[in-house]
């Protein structure tokens, strides 16, 4: 295998992984606060559409990414309102959000299937990218790729190094106790849900702004659901999201390359691997839960909080 093919594979993996990384790290924070939002796919597709539309009108990548985040947040705010104020069932509301997002984006994006835009391209970091081997491997990616890694770090730092992060985790583990000592459960959860929306939006926009310069109905093609699986795979630990996203995205790219290189592997079996791993991790979490050694699954995940006082 020559050097440029190797670098191409690495870049391919980064492009396949980053949408998952964004969406999953957002959902991780949401679930840490005790909320299960199954609407990731819906928020991603709206982000993909808005990013594309704004890029096509303004040619401004910053505005496009910002709009995608706002689009994801707008859809997330519907979820926040329904689940946090009207106390609807989170699973049903999340599913409805995905259906709504897919349908809304398909409808609103009808006029944009004929268009194409200028992709946001990779910006090699000056000087550093000229280092032999390391330069192309570490310093020649798309700016949004670095942002994804930074967001993972930021979420870790917030959850485990700030007071607000501690409160958010406490709310996720026992909302009644957190409420009793005076924390505003609903406010924390709404903020988390909006953050999750913004991250899903940017993850969706990565598809339509970085990967392919087109808008197409349903173009997220199930990536929101993979992101949800990824949170479980990571057992709610931020840095494991990076590993999981690279594994999930990497297998897609590797099996494509293996087919082209005529390496005899079964595409179907390879594609199953990340999901099998997720199931194994789920089972092992369950075992640890039985043994009361669980420290990871937020105890109030998906439970409705109703303040009685």
């Amino acid at each position: 295998m020559n050097e440029s093919l190797f670098i191409n594979i690495i870049i391919g993996i980064s492009i396949a992984s980053v949408p998952l990384m964004f969406a999953a790290i957002g959902e991780l924070l949401v679930e840490r606060s005790g909320v299960l939002n199954l609407g990731v796919e819906g928020m991603m597709i709206v982000g993909a559409l808005l990013g594309f539309v704004v890029m096509s009108h303004t040619q401004n990548p910053y505005l496009a990414v910002l709009s995608a985040m706002l689009g994801g947040m707008a859809i997330a705010s519907i979820f926040a309102f329904l689940t946090q104020f009207l106390l609807t069932n989170q699973v049903a509301t999340g599913l409805a959000l995905t259906l709504f997002g897919l349908g809304f984006a398909a409808f609103a994006g009808r006029g944009y299937t004929e268009e194409t835009i200028q992709l946001i391209t990779a910006v090699p970091i000056p000087y550093l990218s000229n280092i032999p081997y390391l330069g192309p491997l570490l310093f020649s990616f798309n700016p949004l790729v670095y942002l994804a890694f930074f967001m993972v770090y930021l979420v870790w730092w917030f959850l485990f190094r700030t007071k607000q992060g501690l409160i958010l985790r406490a709310i996720g583990d026992n909302h009644d106790a957190a409420h009793a000592i005076g924390h505003n459960v609903v406010r924390y959860r709404v903020m988390a849900i909006l953050f999750g929306g913004a991250m899903a939006g940017i993850g969706g926009a990565f598809l339509s702004l970085v990967q392919v310069p087109i808008w197409g109905e349903g173009m997220t093609a199930g990536r929101g659901w993979i992101a949800l699986g990824l949170v479980v795979f990571a057992s709610w630990q931020p840095f494991r999201i990076i590993f999981g996203a690279i594994l999930f995205g990497g297998i897609t790219i590797l099996q494509i390359h293996a087919q082209g290189l005529n390496i005899n592997v079964s595409a179907q079996y390879l594609s199953m691997l990340p999901y099998l791993a997720t199931i194994v991790i789920l089972v092992s979490l369950r075992m640890r839960l039985k043994n009361k050694t669980n420290r990871t699954v937020p105890n109030c995940l998906g439970r409705i909080f109703h303040s009685t006082t």
């Binding site: 093919l5 349908g103 349903g218 093609a221 494509i256 087919q259 082209g260 005529n262 005899n264």
Partner: protein, 361 residues
């Protein structure tokens, strides 16, 4: 066209199906309905069928009322959609292989309604017709162009599902390319989806990185074309003219032109002359057409491609003309022999000799 399914998760999106009704009612207009597997904006398979439906409306005007339903999954939901359409329409076109069983079932219950199933072969009641196109004739032409235009001698092929129609396309393109360029090699990547722009782009990038300088696709989105344009390699439009996404990249494109067939069938319903038929048209009838050829192609290449198109339209050549062996070296067609539609073409499940890739199972 079997199993044009998106990921199972997206099945949920069937709830977002959009019903578009045109509402001008005149004296006894024919009511025609179309059921689509994907979004009309895919600029591929479904787009082409929708263009056909629009053509009927344009030609017949107030004499026809057209209803279209898009993104209908090939599960029990399609039976529900077809049934509800059967109550209000005179003729229904179901435009994906996977609608075969639902179409047959509903047709048995509504004997007065005419059904037209694309790419299928079952006509148990006399109110069903089947129709398909010889897209492998189009692959023959782009195969010849690819064989001439490649500099690396590697064609990258983005394939969807291993069904006979897709296999026919790969074999036809390879044989044609090989006939003009003995050093040609074809790299095939199966993405197991009809429509996933992200994955189609991943496949395109991988194939280019592995040395392909010319791409062919049997998936429905414009993503591979955009990648070809960005990376400065050549590609061919699929089902419709994709020049908008590949001004330099698109050499030509295989265009599915269903319009005249749809018009003929709807008109037949109006005239009371409709009968159950089975149609497998190609370049000769204009069901398979080509996008304008790119000016960057040398005169001789354009000339050769044009000649192939003319020969196909006159029936002077057949893309599968022996001697052709199967991949394992066993004989398929003898010198000068051409295959029958059934079973050879319609059930094709092998690569031809020379393709260096494992047949997917």
């Amino acid at each position: 066209m079997s199993n044009r399914s998106l990921s199972s998760v997206v099945k949920l999106s069937i709830l977002s199906v959009v019903l578009a009704f045109t509402s001008n009612v005149y004296a006894d207009p024919v009511k025609a309905a179309f059921v689509y597997i994907g979004p009309t904006g895919d600029h591929g398979w479904t787009f082409a069928h929708d263009q056909g439906a629009k053509y009927v409306k344009e030609m017949m005007g107030d004499d026809v009322i057209i209803t279209t339903v898009e993104s209908v999954e090939e599960n029990s939901d399609s039976e529900r959609v077809i049934t509800s359409l059967a109550r209000k329409n005179d003729i229904i076109f179901t435009t994906s292989f996977g609608y075969m069983n639902p179409t047959v079932k509903v047709a048995a219950r509504y004997p007065d309604v005419k059904f037209e199933h694309a790419t299928g072969y079952m006509r148990p009641t006399d109110n069903i017709s089947t129709y398909s196109a010889r897209f492998y004739e189009g692959r023959h032409v782009i195969g010849k162009i690819a064989g001439r235009m490649t500099e690396t001698n590697v064609i990258g092929y983005i394939a969807s599902f291993p069904i006979p129609e897709v296999i026919r396309g790969i074999n036809s393109a390879y044989l044609a390319a090989k006939s003009v360029n003995p050093d040609i090699e074809i790299k095939i990547v199966w993405v197991y989806s009809w429509y996933d722009p992200g994955k189609e782009a991943d496949a395109a990038n991988a194939l280019i990185a592995q040395g392909a300088d010319i791409l062919m696709q049997h998936t429905d989105s414009t993503a591979p074309m955009t990648v070809a344009e960005e990376k400065g390699v050549y590609a061919f439009g699929q089902a419709s003219n994709m020049r908008e996404w590949g001004k330099n990249a698109q050499l030509t494109g295989i265009i599915d032109d269903w319009g005249p067939y749809y018009l003929e069938r709807v008109q037949a319903v109006k005239d009371g002359t409709w009968t159950s038929t089975d149609v497998f048209h190609g370049v000769d009838s204009g069901m398979v057409k080509f996008a304008p050829m790119n000016n960057s192609m040398p005169f001789e290449v354009r000339n050769e491609a044009s000649k192939a198109i003319i020969d196909l339209s006159m029936g002077a050549i057949h893309p599968f003309t022996g001697p052709i062996n199967k991949q394992d070296g066993s004989a398929w067609l003898a010198e000068g022999e051409t295959p029958p539609n059934y079973p050879d073409l319609l059930t094709m499940d092998f690569y031809v000799e020379g393709i260096d890739a494992k047949y997917p199972n």
